[in-house]
């Protein structure tokens, strides 16, 4: 009798403990998405409400005015989406190929000059010249400012990703290479026909990191892009936040009171929303990647 009571008391205690844990995690999780809910709500709010009552979690008067306004002449958004999409796909495609080729070369034990080559690649993770020489070299030496290339080239090759790929390639079973050699397969065939198909998890993870890196980049545009039509998404967002003239540049603003705040928020939603959702759906690949890198 007593024993049974004690057991139920224990169970109650455990359930209370579990309940508290859920409350804590739920509130931490909510705090992680809350700021984005504020932006979402503001984008569906009335401009006057925001001016009068400030930002709220739920719109006082639900309206899609900001979206109508933006999408009536969506040229700015469409262009920025275009720039970001091109940069992301070209950069990820070329970069992934370049990095996995290098990783393959470094992963094979019978590569001549393997040690100096590894040092050559990974030393750049330890030391770099800093912003000033980089800036002067890109603008004065390579003269890349205000081109799409300046948004692509500097992120093509990330030694840290090469490291991830190399570790993965080095773990592939040696028999593959032996049998490929017996078949008389050349290096390129071994790489494309055996290494690449067998390494899809690693390539997918690194590819996603590349996509995220390009999609979320504002740094290169901040340094090297002055022309408005070359602005990628994130940088366009930054410029409309700091400069309301960027919105007013829209031709159809005459007459209507300018909905600056709500339009900014709607722009933020349009710029992040779709991509953030996709990344969220693919998050297990990211988690896979970061646990591969951070553990052990």
């Amino acid at each position: 009798m007593l024993r049974a009571q004690k057991l139920t008391a224990n169970r109650v205690k455990r359930n209370v403990g579990q309940f508290i844990i859920h409350v804590v995690l739920l509130s931490v999780g909510l705090m992680c998405v809350l700021p984005l809910l504020v932006i979402l709500s503001a984008s569906f709010s009335d401009e006057l409400d925001i001016a009068r009552y400030g930002y709220t979690l739920i719109p006082r008067n639900f309206t899609t005015f900001a979206y109508d306004y933006l999408l009536r002449v969506p040229i700015q958004i469409v262009r920025a989406y275009g720039v970001t999409t091109i940069v992301t796909f070209v950069g990820t495609g070329i970069g992934l190929l370049m990095m996995s080729l290098m990783a393959y070369v470094l992963s094979r034990p019978d590569t001549p000059f393997r040690k100096p080559l590894s040092f050559f690649v990974f030393f750049t993770m330890l030391f770099n010249g800093g912003l000033v020489p980089f800036y002067i070299w890109i603008t004065q030496g390579l003269r890349l400012q205000d081109t799409l290339w300046v948004l692509i080239l500097p992120y093509l090759f990330v030694p840290w990703f090469v490291l991830l790929l190399r570790t993965y390639f080095a773990g592939l079973p040696e028999e593959i290479f032996d049998s490929a050699k017996v078949d008389g397969a050349g290096e390129w065939r071994i790489f494309f026909q055996f290494v690449v198909p067998l390494s899809t998890p690693a390539l997918a993870t690194v590819g996603l990191f590349c996509i995220l890196q390009y999609w979320n980049d504002w740094w290169l545009a901040l340094l090297f892009i002055n022309r408005q039509e070359m602005q990628p998404l994130q940088y366009m967002l930054h410029s409309i936040m700091t400069n309301s003239r960027a919105i007013m540049a829209n031709p159809q603003t005459t007459g209507i009171p300018l909905p600056v705040n709500t339009v900014r928020m709607a722009m933020a939603v349009l710029a992040t929303g779709p991509a953030a959702l996709v990344f969220l759906l693919l998050q297990r690949y990211f988690i896979h990647g970061l646990t591969v890198g951070a553990l052990k």
């Binding site: 995690l25 984005l36 504020v38 930002y55 590569t111 940088y235 967002l237 953030a276």
Partner: protein
């Protein structure tokens, strides 16, 4: 976070090529004829593997253009750089740029802010992440567990530009926080002109963005702990709290030390996006929010003071490099698998 699995890949090396590589590293040690022979061998290898070496060429070219050439640009710090004269043509001025930089109060301010804020970030991130990871572990089989992981990880995908936008929505004149203050009868605060609050605000913003990432790292660390230990402790009558205290935490310490050390190696580099977008570059906030990276950026693009910018950049590169070397040396002594080299 970084590791270079040198030991394991080396053990894979076939004897011949390892020997060749070693001799390449120290050809002068062997007798002249032996060196000659091994060099011949190496060239034969190169000839046989030329198509593989060709695969490395794009990467090598990229590294030369975008990493190694700019590296030599650090000499700008010792020059009076003029755009019309170029890097090589500008006059040498010795340590003048450094004398100017360290003659101002800026040097002390940006060094202090960078070190202090990064140190605060390391501590808060680590403590919060481990706490969240332990909570996640307690409910790992619950159907909500995946939901928690997804929401926690969400900020990782959000760029600093967006973070800056919603911090503005929270802290602006008519922002959420000021509304709350008014709601409980307190006066509004002019957040963007009150530097004293910003170390706290930046810490919260940084925590918000990175706690999900790090808690998943530590969560994976807890999952790697042998479950038999927990079972044995439960049999001995240890409750959940005691199991955390005596099993989870002690066994997480090695992972924690390594991660903290690697962060300390990067302590001289600030997260530019955080300091640039979240503060909206407000001049009034500079006393508590100006860090080396933002200082270099402003000196370069706003005031076009190349001398100061390059001196500060050189200072950061050298101290940063030293810190990476030192912490990596320590990490290697603790866990060679996690060290960079």
């Amino acid at each position: 976070m970084l590791r270079l699995k040198k030991s394991s890949s080396e053990s894979l090396s076939a004897g011949a090529s390892a020997g060749a590589a070693n001799q390449l590293a120290a050809p002068h040690l062997g007798a002249a004829s032996a060196a000659h022979n091994s060099r011949n061998q190496l060239w034969r290898q190169v000839r046989r593997k030329w198509s593989r070496l060709l695969m490395a060429v794009p990467g090598i070219v990229w590294l030369l253009i975008f990493s190694y050439i700019p590296m030599f640009g650090v000499i700008i710090a010792f020059k009076d750089f003029r755009f019309d004269k170029g890097i090589l043509g500008s006059d040498w001025v010795g340590f003048d740029n450094f004398r100017f930089l360290f003659g101002t109060r800026d040097a002390l301010r940006i060094t202090f802010n960078t070190l202090f804020l990064n140190a605060v970030f390391i501590v808060t991130d680590t403590v919060a992440a481990i706490a969240v990871a332990i909570l996640l572990y307690q409910v790992q089989r619950h159907f909500l567990s995946r939901f928690y992981q997804a929401t926690l990880f969400f900020p990782y995908f959000i760029s600093w530009v967006i973070v800056g936008i919603f911090v503005f929505a929270l802290l602006s004149q008519g922002g959420v926080v000021n509304n709350l203050l008014v709601g409980v009868g307190l006066p509004k605060v002019q957040w963007y002109s009150s530097p004293q609050y910003w170390p706290g605000i930046l810490t919260l913003a940084h925590l918000w963005k990175s706690v999900g990432f790090w808690s998943l790292v530590y969560f994976a660390g807890i999952l790697a702990i042998n479950p038999e230990l927990y079972e044995a402790a439960a049999v001995d009558g240890a409750n959940a709290w005691r199991r955390v205290l005596h099993i989870t935490l002690p066994l997480l310490v090695p992972l924690m030390i390594i991660n903290v050390l690697l962060s300390i190696g990067r302590i001289f580099y600030a997260d530019f996006g955080l300091f640039f977008f979240v503060t909206r570059g407000e001049g009034l906030l500079l006393p508590t929010t100006d860090v080396i990276d933002t200082y270099v950026y402003r000196a370069l693009t706003k005031s076009a003071n190349i001398g100061m910018a390059s001196a500060a950049g050189f200072y950061q590169a050298i101290v940063g490099f030293t810190l990476v070397l030192v912490t990596n040396w320590v990490v290697r002594r603790i866990n060679p698998e996690r060290s960079l080299f």
